[in-house]
Symmetry: C2
Subunit: 200 residues, 2 copies
């Protein structure tokens, strides 16, 4: 069983969306469960509006439900403190930290990374403005220059995520060419996560 | 795997002590883990001061550690609201609600029980004044008259629990005749829990 934990140093960084789409990717490979530990219960609500290709469990039932799964994706509360982050990292195979490519987000991300030290984590650029904007690549370089491990894949901003949330499905089930492009980003991310897990 | 969750409608009801001693009982029967979800981390601190005959896991590492255990005892935060209680009950095989035998505790316990409805739970009288006091039996009757399922076993008040906490061991490892008597209460409780699980 592989455990992937998605957490955020602040709100509004598309944490639950990220967790849902990582779980969607892994549900094609093995039995997958998403544990919703975020008091907002965004993933549970998403699931209840439509249908997701994996089980979404309330954290209070997680112990009962995770047995027999190949992949466990945990959506945590936002804004953990630094001791929380370390404990979260110890509790999973990979800690994934979505981050928005703006200068305001850079400072807390650097602080978070310094708290985490050599822990098993990767930053993930999300809500990245599409080309020709270079914001994503610029912030990614900045993070790397500061010694932070960052996924090569960046998740581009796409209106389809709103629609997917509304319909209660993953973005790959939203019928628009832009939504398909957004899903390609998650496919690439999923492959990159598998590489990291393989080397771990 | 059997999951036993200990929760309380208020603080100071010996919730962590109860969880630790239930886990001690089950550690003689099968591989047992106690998941400490209480922000006070009482069970983790108890364990760190000495040695307990089972693993105590920080809740943030629980998903990684529970696999392969026969018994999972969950020590929850105190004061869950009524929706929490129902979700907690759904997430376990038996929800255990320690309660103190005083009139002040009766009202919140009755409220809690009405929130729980027909869920899989049992109230447990703890910190019961020893004979000739009849307080424990009186409150137990009161709860039963109100339709609340209550363990036959009552855990008597014993100074040995303080010593056990200080030494970081279960009370059965504290050398005094009174401590041995206190452990007998937990032995009886453990047997009663096994009966309930068997019928469940």
């Amino acid at each position: 069983m592989k455990i992937l934990t998605v957490t955020g140093y602040k709100g509004g960084i598309s944490k639950s969306t990220t967790a849902i789409h990582i779980a969607t990717f892994f549900s094609d490979i093995g039995k997958t469960i998403l544990v919703d530990s975020d008091p907002n219960r965004t993933a549970l609500a998403w699931s209840s509006r439509g249908s997701l290709p994996f089980t979404v469990a309330d954290e209070r039932q997680a112990m009962k439900l995770i047995s027999g799964n190949d992949f466990v994706v945990i959506d945590t509360p936002a804004r953990p403190d630094s001791s929380d982050l370390k404990e979260l990292a110890k509790g999973c195979d990979l800690l994934i930290l979505p981050t928005i490519p703006d200068v305001v987000s850079l400072e807390p991300m650097l602080k978070t990374a310094s708290d985490l030290g050599a822990a098993n984590y990767r930053a993930l650029l999300v809500i990245v403005p599409p080309s020709p904007s270079k914001e994503g690549a610029a912030i990614r370089s900045e993070l790397i220059d500061n010694g932070i491990p960052v996924f090569k894949t960046m998740i581009r901003r796409a209106a389809g995520f709103q629609k997917a949330a509304f319909e209660g499905v993953p973005i790959r089930d939203v019928s628009s060419s832009k939504a398909r492009v957004a899903w390609l980003d998650y496919l690439a991310l999923g492959k990159e996560i598998m590489e990291v897990l393989g080397n771990g």
